[in-house]
Symmetry: C2
Subunit: 295 residues, 2 copies
């Protein structure tokens, strides 16, 4: 929030025209959210344009109308719904990222694949490493067609989910997959885990829950864990201990207005929401996950 | 803004349900705005109910969807458009106010009368002092009918203006009357002038501008100044000197996107917007106003 107020102060001293001069934000998800919220608050709303320079910015934080910042050690506890005037997407920015940040963004794409688009997941299984090596720049012909396909599909599927539910009146959100336990894990591990890395762990943990309930097969569970391992994404972290997971479950129940509404995969590409995950079940899933995780 | 963040912190520690437990704000305009903005930001939006306990809260700050807080010595420079779930109006709260705060709120009602409703202005001319004495409580029969009429009319006229222009896409706002020069005057004089007192000075100054352009007669100008004097509202302040008024004119031109868009009365009950007020004209009007002002 301090950064939001610093940006607001800069907007004021720069003396921008209230309606006609958009603020242009270049950066990753955190920056886009921070500037978006400042633009929302400054004079009750100044137009802004988002130019994501990271994979998460490109396929996730740059899409939709949400802004959010951490406050008092709570992830995204302050924020707003505020639409940018435009989001300008240029894949060339992704060439500036290191491998860890490429993988970080791929976690959000895997998320969409697992619960929403089996074909997208299969492309990541076949070509995930090529995409990561080429950083979406299309150095080879296959790399080019796959990069365009993966980014376009991920964004299209996000929009399918967000557009009819812009203000989240429906709290059963498919895109919350990977975001049930990860906020606590990410905040606890700060700064050792990136956002997508915490999401990857949540994806894997949720797959174990899904497998124990027979929503996915052991083969499907292993495929999800394997694709993340090949992309050097973690699937477990020491923070995944019973006490923290219990808190995460309580948080999410408050956050989703009294019900867990946890999205779990149904096969690869489908989803089901559950409201009855127990702390015992969760602790057991974490133990199983630890055993499955690649070193 | 510090107060907004304090309220957000309290909401978090209180552990409210995100969608079903509205925050209930009791207080005047500043409090309603502060809590409204905190409710807007907390988890990207928590329902809130406004219960105004001042006249300004009742007829002005409690109406509409705006929140705003001062920031870096700029009045309302941060804020949002965020609708309350409900506004609960109970005149009995107004009995708790001292005479100065009653008059403070009457300034916003005079504003509506001068540029929007001649009948409302006439009621204030005839019965303003009775209303103030009775603090809208209807101690006499006349006092009761007049209090109900004045409050209801003021709110109705505000809603007529706000409803078709909720997000202020149209920057020619009748309700900005009295709010062109007053933000600078109010901030400069802090804490000696209340909001409505600064608005009263702006109403009078704008009437002098209107009289010099022959939009109102000298008789109409004197009637406006007289009704404010009888209600013990100031119509001049030492802050009304050329340098401050020049800054106010520059502010408002930025604020209203490159044009002054200053609402001036056209007779009593009508309005016209002007874009060509000069600093010289303004300084002369202030000098005239000083001479007109009651001691």
């Amino acid at each position: 929030m301090d950064n939001v107020l610093s940006v607001a102060r800069k907007l004021d001293s720069f003396g921008i025209s209230r309606r006609r001069e958009p603020v242009i934000a270049f950066g990753g998800g955190v920056l886009l959210d921070t500037v978006g919220l400042a633009a929302n608050l400054y004079r009750r709303g100044t137009p802004h344009v988002r130019v994501p320079t990271t994979v998460i910015g490109y396929v996730d934080a740059g899409i939709g109308v949400k802004t959010g910042v951490n406050f008092d050690n709570r992830k995204n506890s302050l924020g707003s719904y505020y639409s940018p005037t435009a989001v300008l997407l240029d894949r060339r920015f992704l060439a500036t990222l290191n491998q860890r940040h490429i993988s970080n963004g791929l976690a959000e794409i895997i998320k969409i694949g697992v619960v929403k688009d089996r074909r997208l997941f299969q492309i990541l299984e076949s070509h995930g490493e090529l995409i990561a090596d080429e950083r979406f720049q299309g150095i080879t012909e296959t790399g080019e067609s796959v990069a365009v396909d993966v980014l376009g599909t991920a964004i299209g599927r996000m929009l399918d989910e967000l557009q009819p539910n812009l203000w989240e009146h429906n709290l059963e959100r498919v895109v919350d997959y990977g975001h049930t336990f990860s906020p606590r894990i990410e905040m606890h591990a700060l700064p050792t885990l990136l956002h997508g890395e915490a999401v990857a762990i949540d994806i894997a943990l949720s797959c174990v829950l899904a497998w124990r309930r027979r929503f996915i097969t052991i083969d499907e569970l292993e495929r999800v864990v394997a694709v993340m391992a090949r992309l050097r994404l973690p699937t477990w972290h020491p923070a995944c201990e019973p006490q923290l997971l219990r808190k995460a479950l309580a948080d999410v129940t408050t956050h989703r207005d009294g019900y867990q509404r946890i999205p779990l995969p149904l096969g690869i590409g489908g989803v089901v929401f559950v409201n009855d995950v127990t702390n015992k079940e969760l602790a057991e899933a974490a133990t199983i996950l630890k055993g499955l995780a690649f070193p």
